[in-house]
């Protein structure tokens, strides 16, 4: 594991805001030469800390007005294979995130839908019919904030 210095952290912050910035432009802002900036980015990539890119889309403007977090409990633990459940749930296009968790529920899902009737359709036709699915709790997302995390 590598230790980050202040410049590494500043680079990570800048790249999570906009990954398309060139090493030259980033370096100018941080007071680094272009090759020095490039070497640092390369080092962060090699260490697996910078792990690809993500396109940020505005869900609402694309017609997806509802996001719901679901807590799912498996009904028949031991009889249904976790792999089967995970494969089936991951294949649902509206399911954006699947986390295997320990606690009140077995899985946490992030589901996106056009509106509440559309969500109900996804819930009834796709989620409730998954192999082994038991109790489901839904919480409708009202607001969301992504924080920089411990690199600030």
């Amino acid at each position: 594991m590598i230790d980050l210095d202040d410049l590494d952290r500043a680079l990570l912050r800048a790249l999570t805001r906009d990954a398309t910035q060139s090493a030259g432009a980033l370096g100018r802002r941080l007071g680094l030469s272009q090759p020095a900036t490039w070497r640092r980015i390369r080092k962060l990539e090699m260490a697996g800390i910078l792990n690809g890119r993500r396109l940020r889309l505005n869900a609402e403007k694309l017609g997806f007005g509802v996001t719901v977090f679901l807590g799912v409990k498996l009904a028949t633990k031991g009889r249904v294979s976790l792999e089967d459940f995970e494969r089936a749930v991951s294949a649902i296009p509206e399911v954006q995130r699947v986390e295997h968790i320990l606690g009140l529920y077995d899985y946490r899902l992030r589901v996106v839908a056009r509106d509440l009737p559309d969500f109900e359709r996804v819930l009834r036709r796709r989620i409730m019919t998954l192999p082994g699915v038991g109790e489901v709790e839904a919480n409708v997302l009202l607001s969301e904030e992504r924080r920089a995390g411990p690199i600030a």
């Binding site: 790249l15 792990n51 749930v89 954006q96 995130r97 986390e99 295997h100 606690g103 009202l142 411990p150």
Partner: protein
């Protein structure tokens, strides 16, 4: 507002955000000039917000990820505002969400290991204002996390 070609561009870019506009154009089967104009327009109207680098927190030594589901004391008029403002000051909080449902607020917290998590939980989380109840869900594995929209 958006047509089929726009949506195809977004689909390809969503599945691989490292593609250049020229590569995207090739996959969709239009000229790179046309692709660039369409992408610029979608940026202008706010459909495309940007491209972020993804940080792998585990590679940075943060092995523990916990989802804290919090119920607030709603008899306090400023419960949400006070709580969220204080939660923003905790560096290990990576996401803050508010909900309609049994849960009021969810915090996503990362920590290096269990002792580190215990320390954050006791010193920084339990001291947040207006908490009525907390449930912790510990993440065992991330099965799907690309957060793509079904375009």
């Amino acid at each position: 507002m958006l047509d089929d070609v726009d949506r195809r561009l977004l689909r390809h870019w969503q599945s691989d955000a490292s593609l250049s506009p020229a590569e995207l154009a090739e996959r969709v089967g239009i000229t790179s000039g046309k692709a660039a104009r369409r992408l610029a327009r979608m940026q202008e109207i706010g459909v495309i917000e940007g491209i972020s680098a993804v940080i792998d927190w585990a590679a940075l030594g943060y092995a523990v990820e916990v989802s804290l589901r919090i119920t607030l004391d709603k008899t306090q008029a400023r419960a949400f505002d006070d709580f969220i403002e204080a939660a923003r000051a905790v560096p290990e909080v990576t996401e803050i969400q508010t909900f309609l449902g049994r849960v009021d607020v969810r915090l996503n917290i990362i920590a290096r290991d269990m002792p580190h998590y215990q320390d954050i939980y006791r010193r920084r989380v339990l001291t947040l204002p207006h908490i009525a109840d907390i449930e912790a869900l510990m993440q065992i594995a991330q099965i799907k996390d690309e957060e793509a929209l079904p375009l």
